[in-house]
């Protein structure tokens, strides 16, 4: 079975990135959040550091080539810089963050990551502060444009993610101008639609996902393993499990085996435009 998993990763039937939902806790309350994350979330559902490191080590054994860590806000976890270092020592990793918590002290703790293949993917939805903050929260724009240069000057790689709600192409082009000015190249800018799940579904925002719209990527959360990072959404406080593949997340071979049983007969596709990578 391990060989079959490795082969499926190699041929792209199973995405080569393992996603880890570090926590559902967040300091922001974005209007389109898939997981209803917020400062007041009742149940933070956190993956502990050892669990993330173990999953990463096992992922490497199974042929995965990289890891994505998301949430919630990953830096709400007090030990996240150290977790990131431990994960990054095993596989290349991209950590999704809103970049609003980067104090000098925290940035100093990130400096050891300079030597590793670690990238930060930061969300920014508009070049207009008011527009961006309307979607993501007060002062978000200012904090993001402050954080990006400070990360870059420490030699840390930064990617930018723009989530499209109702922005016009001209507005998105202005975001591109901004990210280039901030020192982020075009290949490190990700643009994806709001997905109509979680809080976005409650607010009637975004696009419905079809079964083949997203590359299947094994995604671990404290609630179980899911088909892709858009899957473990929350609505009215309850996690959607329509795309759950297993409640078991360790050892990784078990959810990977069940994941494979779901995707084995699906045609291979290359439409990953909507992936949150």
């Amino acid at each position: 079975m391990r060989d079959e998993i490795r082969a499926s990763v190699a041929e792209g039937r199973m995405g080569d990135r393992l996603w880890l939902y570090a926590t559902y806790h967040c300091n922001l309350t974005c209007v389109y959040c898939l997981t209803e994350s917020s400062p007041r979330i009742a149940n933070r559902r956190t993956l502990d550091s050892d669990a993330m490191v173990r999953a990463t080590a096992e992922a490497k054994e199974l042929g995965f080539t990289c890891v994505g860590i998301t949430g919630g806000e990953t830096f709400m976890l007090p030990d996240f810089p150290e977790t990131l270092r431990r994960v990054g020592e095993i596989l290349p990793v991209v950590a999704l963050t809103n970049a609003t918590l980067f104090t000098d002290r925290l940035l100093a703790r990130l400096e050891p990551l300079f030597e590793l293949d670690v990238a930060f993917q930061i969300s920014l939805d508009s070049d207009e502060p008011a527009r961006n903050d309307e979607l993501r929260g007060p002062e978000n724009f200012a904090k993001v444009v402050d954080a990006i240069p400070r990360l870059l000057e420490r030699g840390l790689r930064v990617r930018l993610a723009t989530t499209v709600a109702d922005q016009e192409p001209e507005e998105l082009e202005r975001v591109c101008v901004l990210h280039r000015r901030l020192g982020i190249p075009d290949e490190d800018h990700v643009v994806r639609s709001v997905v109509r799940r979680g809080r976005a579904a409650t607010a009637q925002m975004g696009i419905e996902l079809g079964p083949t719209d997203v590359l299947p990527e094994l995604t671990l959360t404290a609630d179980g393993a899911f088909l892709h990072p858009f899957a473990p959404t929350v609505r009215s406080g309850r996690t959607d499990i329509d795309l759950l593949v297993s409640r078991q997340i360790a050892p990784l071979e078990m959810p990977a085996r069940r994941f494979l049983s779901v995707v084995r007969d699906q045609p291979l596709g290359d439409d990953v435009v909507r992936s949150i990578r």
Partner: protein, 171 residues
Amino acid sequence: MTRLPLLSATEAPPTARSWYRADGSASALTRSLASAPDLLETLMPFLGQVMGESSVDLATKELVIVRVSQLNGCSYCIAAHGPLALEAGVSPGALRAVCDDAPLDELPERERALVTWVDGITLEPAAVDDEVLAQVLQWVREDQLIELTLLAGAIGMLNRYCTAFDIPPPR
């Protein structure tokens, strides 16, 4: 009111959907278990084996199922399996007896020996004596008794699950 979500086929995890019927329907028990799909993957084939036709006839199995459910007071399982028992060939009189609606001594000797065994292992297994075992082995083979005993245990588990979570009985 049930204490668990009863998932529709579209709400259920992909690996659980194979236990739903083609029209998307499923028993309330299945719909509740769909929240734990890994368990479902193992449990359903086990239940299919232990409850389905085997070297033990279905009427005997249904008699055991209803009796254990009666002892445990599981309205879901009695409602689900009463009709199945009749369909499998349990007489209406025997069904009434195992449901305590008629005296047990009205049962034929074989069924009485089985019910005595089932009552013992369900209510106080440590007190089941050699005589009760010898009596039931006059009517079923040892391997069949193993199967029926595991069936009684499995039904006891389901009785506790359905009762504790208040799974709504089929109408």
